[in-house]
Structure formats: structure tokens, C-alpha cells
């Protein structure tokens, strides 16, 4: 099987392959961001109550993916058999713990 040379024109499109893939990736990212903004729910820190991120849960093949969670650094735990909790990892980001020394 022949490999496409990086930067070579794609079949018929007349647009270099990496650029075309970049546009597709960019469109997917925009779609994803739009879905999170419209359908996502605010996820708050269980300690200070501040919003950690706006997330959209997706369950797939034994995994729970939280779209949007990559926007912040968070710790996750279970506090009931069917409930997860989220909190800040870093003390200086958490209003309730920042000055608690």
C-alpha cells in the first residue's frame, strides 16, 4: 500500500491532506465545544461550590467520558454507590481551602 506523502494533494480535493485534516479536526472541536456549551451541566467543587467545568457525560464501553473536564484540574471520588463527587486538586484554586492553614 502506498503512503500519501505529507503535504501532497489529496485525491480530487485539490487541498493538501494535512490542511484538510486540520479543517476536519477544527470542525469537530467546534462541534464538541458547542455541544458542551449547550448541553453540558456545571460541575461544582464539592468543597467550595465553585464551578470546576461545564461537562457533558458520555458512557461508552465501560467508560464514563466527561467532555469538558479537561478544562480544569479536578479530583474525582465516589461518595455513594451511585454518586460521584468532584473537587479542586490544588489548594490555591479552592476558595474553601485556600486560607485554611
Amino acid at each position: 500500500m502506498l503512503r500519501r506523502v505529507r503535504g501532497a494533494p489529496s485525491d480530487g480535493a485539490g487541498v493538501p491532506e494535512p490542511r484538510r485534516l486540520g479543517r476536519v479536526a477544527s470542525a469537530i472541536r467546534e462541534l464538541r465545544s458547542g455541544a458542551i456549551a449547550r448541553l453540558g451541566r456545571p460541575i461544582d467543587c464539592e468543597v467550595c461550590g465553585e464551578e470546576l467545568f461545564r461537562g457533558l457525560p458520555v458512557v461508552w464501553r465501560g467508560r464514563l467520558k466527561f467532555l469538558g473536564s479537561e478544562q480544569s484540574l479536578v479530583r474525582v471520588d465516589w461518595d455513594k454507590m451511585n454518586r460521584m463527587t468532584f473537587s479542586h486538586v490544588l489548594r490555591d484554586e479552592c476558595d474553601a481551602r485556600r486560607d485554611d492553614r
Binding site: S69, E70, L73, V74, R75, V76, D77, V89, L90, R91, D92, R101
Partner: protein, 258 residues
């Protein structure tokens, strides 16, 4: 007892000279060693005998990937600590970590004594159950986990810690133990240093949990000139990181000299 201060830099000799002048002006009496991770030519041009060249390829790879402090720790231990029992601690920081308080060594030592720390750092906390990018990268790295299992004195030998790579304070015993391990697997220093020292039996301490020393130390965003000068004028601030505006260094040097 005294602290050896290791300044990690890759800057040109003239900039390193300015940085050392500022450090010496703000903290007369403190002892500094330059850990240079730039070109050999720039290293040779740095005007001090207290310097070590770091040619570790990990320091020249992609940012925040595999950077290791091991070479710096080994060089510093063998060259300075082995022959000088008066050195009780190492303070390693990056060139963009400014020191504003001349008493910082004593403040760090006091905090270490109060907490029993072997390592102190910014955001030095366990990272399990978090989405920290360097935790999710390393949590199933079999080479790292096997290494930790082989040396750990803890009940949970695969527990991973994290901290900022800048502003690490190590006790003499912690540095000796780190170097004595000998072989180290590839791992990013922000994960590896606190994790290894925890598993070697040392207490790793989050500075923010006990003190305001690191109130103005962070990963991002960069402190601008006005912020730095405001903190310096106000007083009470020990450290500021990251500061990339060289004008701030120059202004602080003028202020310290006058």
C-alpha cells in the same frame, strides 16, 4: 547549616550573570550554583565556578514531557554535598523564579523543621483520582511502577504524587537517598521527584498547606512587570514565579543595589 541554591537555566551568559547579580544582591550570603541546560558554549561563557552542565537529552525534548532533575541532583550531590557536611538542604528553582525575601532560606528551613519535610514543593499532593495530565500519563507505566515497587517502603507502592518542577526544597538526606537509588526510569520530574521521595520514606509537603511562602508561585499565567514591582514594593512576598519580563529583574537589581 546552610542551603545550596541551584538555579536551573538555559539562558545566554549575559542573562545568567544578571540573574546571579540579582540573587546575590537580594540575598547576600546565600550560595548559588548554576545548572545550565543550554548549549555547551553558553555554559562555558557563564562567569562562575559554581556551575554544572546538564546535557541530559530529556531537558531538550518537548516541553513538560520527560524533563528530569536527576542529572542536576547527582552532579550537585557529588560536587557539593559529599564533601561539605554543613549543607543541610538543596533549593532548586528555575531562572524565572524570583526571590524577594533575603530571609527565605531560614523561612524554608523553619517550615521544613515544623513539618518534618524531606521535600517541599508547590502543589505537592497525591494525584490519584485526578485528571492531572501527568498522572494519567504515568499511572499505568509498568516501568515506573515496577521501579517504585522495588524501592518503596510504603504500603501502597504505586501511589503517585505531583508538584511544580520549580521551587523544590530537598533535605540533605532526601537528596542523598535520591542519588543513591542509582538507576531511574524515564519520568517527568513533576511526577517523579515527589513520588520517588515519598516511596523512599520521606515526607513530601505542600508548601501552600502550611505557609504563604508560595502564594505567588504558580505554573501560569506569567507575572507581568507591574505585578512584580507591586509585590516587591508591598513587601512580605518571598518568591514570584514565573517572571519572564527581564525588565523586572533589572528594576529589582537597581532597587536592591540602591
Amino acid at each position: 547549616m546552610s542551603t545550596l541554591n541551584a538555579v536551573v537555566t538555559h539562558l545566554r551568559p549575559a542573562a545568567v550573570k544578571e540573574d546571579l547579580e540579582l540573587l546575590r544582591a537580594v540575598t547576600p550570603g546565600a550560595r548559588f550554583v548554576v545548572c545550565h541546560g543550554g548549549s555547551r558554549e553558553d555554559f562555558e561563557g557563564v562567569e562562575t565556578d559554581d556551575k554544572v552542565f546538564m546535557d541530559d537529552p530529556s531537558l531538550r525534548g518537548p516541553a513538560r514531557h520527560l524533563q528530569s532533575w536527576t542529572q542536576a541532583f547527582e552532579a550537585i550531590w557529588h560536587r557539593y554535598f559529599e564533601s561539605d557536611d554543613s549543607l543541610d538542604s538543596l533549593y532548586l528553582f528555575e531562572f524565572d523564579h524570583l526571590i524577594l525575601d533575603r530571609d527565605y532560606e531560614q523561612r524554608l528551613r523553619d517550615l521544613a523543621e515544623a513539618t518534618g519535610a524531606g521535600l517541599m514543593g508547590k502543589n505537592c499532593v497525591p494525584r490519584e483520582g485526578t485528571n492531572w495530565e501527568h498522572y494519567v500519563r504515568w499511572r499505568r507505566d509498568e516501568r515506573l511502577l515496577a521501579h517504585l515497587r522495588s524501592i518503596s517502603v510504603r504500603e501502597q507502592p504505586t501511589k503517585l504524587y505531583g508538584c511544580l518542577g520549580d521551587g523544590m526544597w530537598l533535605s540533605r538526606n532526601a537528596l542523598r537517598s535520591y542519588v543513591a537509588v542509582g538507576e531511574h526510569p524515564p519520568c517527568y520530574n513533576e511526577t517523579y521527584v515527589p513520588t520517588l521521595l515519598h516511596h523512599l520514606g520521606f515526607r513530601v509537603v505542600d508548601v501552600d498547606s502550611h505557609s504563604d511562602l508560595y502564594s505567588h508561585v504558580r505554573f501560569a499565567p506569567v507575572f507581568c512587570f507591574d505585578e512584580v514591582m507591586s509585590l516587591a514594593k508591598r513587601g512580605g512576598t518571598a518568591f514570584v514565579h514565573p517572571v519572564k519580563d527581564r525588565a523586572a529583574n533589572a528594576a529589582l537589581l537597581r532597587s536592591a543595589a540602591s
